[in-house]
């Protein structure tokens, strides 16, 4: 009877610690992954008019591959759990939506269809499935990294397509996203015009997005490998000896004649 009670109690305590661990890791990933993404690709995520077909398909996925790769290192190599990338994509999406709803819409009153975030969930599922099927992080980097870049734009297209419909506004041809943009001029608007509305994007018929996605996949493949290694480094379990302990051990070693044979 006592054994049964102890077993039940052990399972209860184990579950509680597991919840602590899972929620803690989820909150840290939400906080720091979102921080990473908003500071490397944030403007493209915040605003609909920034979601162009030249820079957005490069900058957003190349930045976003970081945490999925590092988390896959932990969950796959240590626990054989094939959902590190999907977990990160979902946590990022949750963090972004919480902010867009409460901050961008409810506080500063931008319409939600102007500030909705992009999603990485479909590409993350592909990345996880690839790692699960191949069991090889190098293959996942080469194929999964490329697919990460290629899949980003098509998997987000369904959300932004209605805003790329051409309209005539005060005699000028522009997109619906542009019209909304001019209704909500922001302090970053000049940068938007300078960065996004440049080069041949508007006049170079076709090909812009495909080439951007191709380049994005190339960079994502490289960065997947880099961030997998970063995950391994941050997941290390190294302990250092404090100065006092190291000094004491050195003193004891010397007392035992550790350096008796050394020549000066």
């Amino acid at each position: 009877m006592e054994e049964i009670q102890a077993d039940a109690e052990a399972k209860r305590v184990t579950r509680r610690f597991e919840w602590f661990l899972l929620v803690t890791i989820a909150l840290v990933l939400m906080g720091t992954y979102h921080l990473h993404q908003e500071l490397f690709a944030g403007d493209w995520s915040f605003w609909l008019d920034w979601k162009d077909r030249n820079w957005w398909p490069i900058i957003a996925p190349v930045s976003a591959i970081a945490y999925p790769a590092a988390t896959q290192w932990l969950l796959w190599t240590k626990f054989r759990m094939p959902f590190g990338a999907t977990l990160c994509a979902l946590l990022l999406l949750l963090a972004e939506w919480l902010s867009r709803y409460w901050n961008f819409w409810d506080w500063t009153h931008y319409p939600l269809n102007f500030v909705f975030p992009e999603t990485f969930v479909p590409a993350a599922v592909v990345l996880d499935v690839l790692l699960m099927l191949t069991g090889n992080w190098v293959v996942t980097a080469l194929i999964g990294g490329e697919l990460w870049g290629w899949l980003f734009y098509p998997t987000n297209w369904i959300m932004i397509a209605p805003y790329h419909v051409p309209v005539e506004y005060q005699g000028a041809l522009m997109s619906v996203a542009d019209v909304i943009s001019y209704m909500y001029v922001r302090t970053s608007t000049p940068e938007y015009l300078r960065i996004v509305e440049t080069g041949t994007m508007r006049s170079f018929a076709g090909g812009v997005t495909g080439v951007a996605a191709f380049f994005s996949g190339f960079l994502a493949a490289i960065l997947y490998a880099v961030w997998w290694i970063v995950g391994a480094l941050f997941g290390g379990t190294k302990f250092f000896k404090p100065y006092a302990v190291a000094t004491e051990e050195l003193r004891k070693a010397r007392e035992k004649g550790w350096d008796a044979g050394r020549t000066v």
């Binding site: 915040f46 902010s99 290390g236």
Partner: protein, 280 residues
């Protein structure tokens, strides 16, 4: 070296209440209410009293809040960290497994507080700062959103993070005699976000920049935020020890004693030991 090599005697079961959600829930409820109230304050007075740094209202509602934050944070940090240090365990080598397990529960609650505060500061209030700056032209480094984000939410996670580190180093054998590299990164790297504010504010003061959130001037925040990934290493250090303690306390499995862990904590970090009690 695995944890199964040595045994210790005198197993006592911890009280069921030692692993209660109630205290944790009350604490997190209070913390959540606190952040909600801060958000309410921001909504009430950011646009109405926080647009002109030279106004009397600004001094009253925002600079007054900033100074209050500095004072309360300094007192809280000194009191909490000082209390944790003064009440440290001076006989860790005699710590029983049951007591060690209950301490991991308290430690996990502090680390969770840290994680929650990191989310609030780095994610929610940082993007809030983004939408603020895209809406309002700044005329001071101490804008209302900064007074909440930089000088309130960031110090709060620093206070919790350092508190968790002190708790671990003074009460848990695994972290008492050796310095955990991932733990130092997990706490130290996000701490560096605070000094990085100096760079950020200098840049915004020196150059009248447009509010491009991805500007290289901001990348220091992201760089130091990467330290959050060290939660992987801390988890891989603590998880096997916690599971080993559960296996020992409830099933009588062999375990490294506290005094042995104090001598060499590296033997407690085998992820193979990190499996649930039901599989013991």
């Amino acid at each position: 070296m695995l944890q199964t090599e040595t045994t210790t005697t005198g197993v006592g079961l911890p009280e069921k209440s030692a692993f209660s959600w109630r205290k944790v829930g009350v604490f997190f409820g209070a913390l959540t209410v606190f952040y909600l109230l801060i958000n309410v304050y921001l909504r009430l007075f950011a646009f109405s009293k926080g647009l002109d740094y030279t106004s009397q209202d600004y001094s009253t509602y925002w600079m007054g809040m900033l100074l209050t934050e500095f004072v309360v944070e300094a007192i809280t940090a000194a009191a909490l960290w000082g209390w944790l240090w003064i009440t440290r365990d001076r006989a860790l080598d005699r710590l029983t497994p049951a007591e060690e397990l209950t301490r991991y529960w308290a430690w996990a609650a502090i680390v969770l507080s840290y994680a929650f505060s990191v989310y609030v500061g780095a994610s929610f209030f940082t993007e809030q700062d983004g939408t603020w700056h895209n809406t309002v032209v700044r005329d001071t480094d101490f804008t209302p959103s900064h007074i909440v984000e930089f000088y309130l939410t960031f110090p709060i996670y620093i206070i919790f993070g350092v508190a968790s580190l002190i708790y671990a180093m003074t009460r848990l054998p695994q972290f008492a005699t050796r310095i955990s590299l991932p733990y130092v990164i997990l706490i130290g790297s996000p701490i560096m976000i605070m000094p990085n504010i100096g760079l950020n504010e200098f840049g915004h003061t020196r150059w009248f920049m447009e509010e491009l959130f991805v500007a290289p001037l901001h990348w220091g925040f992201a760089f130091f935020g990467w330290g959050g990934l060290a939660i992987f290493g801390v988890g891989l250090q603590a998880c096997p020890r916690i599971m080993a303690l559960i296996h020992h306390v409830y099933y009588g499995k062999p375990i490294l004693s506290a005094s042995e862990v104090l001598k060499d904590p590296t033997g407690t970090c085998d992820p193979a030991c990190c499996y649930p009690a039901s599989e013991a």
